[in-house]
Amino acid sequence: MARAVIVILAVALILGGLFFALRPDTQAGGPRDRTYDVSVENGEMNPAEISVDEGDRVTLRVSSDTPMELHLHGYNLEQVVEPGEKADLQFTADITGRFEIEDHESEAELGVLQVRPR
């Protein structure tokens, strides 16, 4: 019985210690301003995957070859984009997770926004 207790305590210590040893320190520095140039050509978004950290102030500078409306899920934001001009979609990344970016009209998936937790 005593042996079982010792084993369990030892395992708890090992697992606990390992957790704190491996876990990285939280992001040094606070939320950042990030701007991305996003272009939509032939139904494809470039870059297709955008990753930011929680709390960042994000600006997507979108240009497109055809008139379209961009829709960002989760945040439920839309941005009309006309060919030839760049439209800015601005928001604060306060919800973490993985969110689809789609063409509102055709419902085609263009890309993805990932907001990593701090």
């Binding site: 697992l15 993985r98 085609a108 990593r116």
Partner: protein, 498 residues
């Protein structure tokens, strides 16, 4: 923005036919891959915890029977009235058939490219939601299985019309078939869920449901309802497997009732709904029990029994594997296709599994039970890891995509109705933060792993009885579990390819 929210998860059909690696059968993934450090931690924890029982349980009485604490809910009068109420079961059955018909009708005549209840109900509510309910509450499928209910109603009608033998032809079920028909049908389902690019198209869902209905109803008529449900109906077998994990069971403590019952296992009539229905009220028990202990009960080793479990495990892993960059490389560099993968992965799992079973038996001294019995018994011990992975992988999907059902019940066919006033409901994201999701996913898988390790320990004791040999015999199984757990964690850590 009802239309947007509704249609959002649907991938554009043109994208469907051009992209080789498809995301989830239906709807995007909402989770971010787990970070490397957390993956390594989970892997290390899996290794450490796997060998914990070896350090803890070194002595056990010989031949102690497999027991677990249980509490009979039927002893509480309020619960007994509630749980055995025929009104309740009747309502559930009616509801089940109603939803079944709704899904088929919506699939056939409803809007095909947008708001339609069929895909969300089938893939989110039933496949994910009901599965989790079965695993964590109890197996209701024998009561609500729409095919069983329809067959029973048809039979009752036939009897009333004068067909004394009902609808069953009563052909003998060939013993060698075992549950292989269920294995085959389940494999076909895995293909539809993971590979078939039209799995979320309402019309195709309706077609598959109708096709499966034909097969099932015919099987029930030809071989007998209970026989087919137990041997050939893929979902009855599947939910039965999840029901072994569940914290509830039905039990009959009356040998006279169970004599000659095909479904009852040696050593106790647990979760045999046939016997439960036949038994008198005082002979019935509806027990609360610790989760997963049902997986340690002795099983009648049917042909295809272990294979079914392995196919379920492989299917769960395949679902996750399809979104990994590794799989994309495999598709690119080898002649393997997605469809081929549906068959190859279970075969690979089966081969590896049998190898480890052989090692297990060899280390245990080679005596004791036969190889097939070992294989059948140990397969169950891996189930908690698969269930943990399913929950980890799908719970945000259920939470977010599942909210769609609120708007869909008001407009099931996409015709612009608003029956309950909820048609404009938008799913709320951000209910759980990504950080919480990470920790809960790893936590769930590690807990599933620990449960699996415990089961392997109990099962090896049942198979070998001698504690020392049982301890040695567990080691290959523990290694296998560590590998399976680390693979599951690895999948969660992979960048998502859509």
């Amino acid at each position: 923005m009802r239309r947007v929210a509704a249609v959002a998860p649907l991938l554009n059909l043109t994208l469907v036919y051009t992209s080789p690696a498809l995301a989830h059968g239906f709807g995007p993934t909402y989770d971010i891959p787990i970070p490397l450090w957390l993956y390594l931690y989970g892997a290390a924890a899996a290794v450490v915890l796997a060998f914990l029982p070896l350090a803890l349980f070194s002595r056990r009485e010989r031949g102690a029977a497999y027991r677990y604490p249980r509490f009979d809910l039927l002893r509480v009068r309020l619960l007994r009235t509630l749980l055995t109420s025929r009104f309740l079961t009747g309502t559930l059955r009616l509801l089940s058939v109603g939803l079944f018909v709704l899904v088929v009708v919506a699939g056939l005549v409803g809007l095909q490219t947008g708001f339609n209840i069929a895909p969300t109900f089938v893939w989110v509510i039933w496949w994910v939601g009901f599965s989790l309910f079965t695993a964590f509450v109890g197996n209701l499928w024998p009561i609500v299985n729409p095919w069983a209910v329809i067959f029973e109603w048809a039979e009752a009608l036939a009897r009333r019309l004068g067909f004394r033998d009902g609808l069953e032809l009563g052909e003998a079920y060939p013993r060698g078939f075992g549950i292989w028909p269920a294995v085959g049908l389940y494999l076909a389902f895995v293909w539809v869920e993971n590979v078939f690019s039209g799995s979320y198209v309402p019309r195709y869902i309706a077609f598959f449901v109708l096709a499966y209905s034909l097969i099932t109803l015919y099987g029930m008529a030809y071989f007998g309802k209970e026989t087919w449900l137990r041997r050939g109906e893929a979902f009855s077998v599947y939910f039965g497997l999840l029901g072994r994990f569940a914290p509830t069971e039905v039990r009959v403590e009356a040998p006279s009732v169970c004599a000659g019952c095909e479904g009852c296992e040696p050593g106790g009539c647990v979760n045999c709904y046939e016997c439960f229905r036949r038994a008198a009220p005082e002979e019935r028990e509806l027990n609360l029990r610790p989760p997963a202990v049902g997986l340690g009960l002795q099983e009648k080793a049917l042909p295809g029994g272990a294979a079914f479990v392995i196919v379920v495990l492989a299917g769960v892993t395949f679902d996750g594997l399809l979104e990994t960059p590794l799989w994309l490389e495999v598709l690119r560099l080898t002649p393997v296709t997605q469809t081929l993968g549906v068959v190859l992965l279970p075969l690979l799992f089966f081969g590896i599994y049998l190898g480890f079973v052989w090692l297990s038996r060899a280390l245990g001294g080679g005596g004791g039970e036969g190889f097939l019995r070992f294989a059948a018994a140990y397969a169950f011990s891996l189930v908690p890891i698969a269930i943990a992975y399913q929950v980890a992988h799908y719970y945000t999907y259920l939470l977010i995509q599942g909210q769609m059902i609120i708007s869909l019940v008001s407009d099931p066919f996409g015709w612009g109705w608003d029956l309950f006033g909820t048609a404009g409901f938008d799913p709320r994201y951000g209910l759980v933060g990504a950080g919480f999701v990470w920790y809960s996913q790893v936590g769930l898988i590690v807990v599933g792993h620990v449960i699996a390790v415990y089961l392997a320990h109990e099962i090896s004791l049942r198979l070998l009885r001698d504690p020392r040999r049982a301890l040695r015999s567990q080691i290959p199984m523990l290694v296998l579990m560590v590998l399976y757990t680390i693979t599951s964690l690895w999948i969660l850590a992979q960048p998502i390819v859509e």
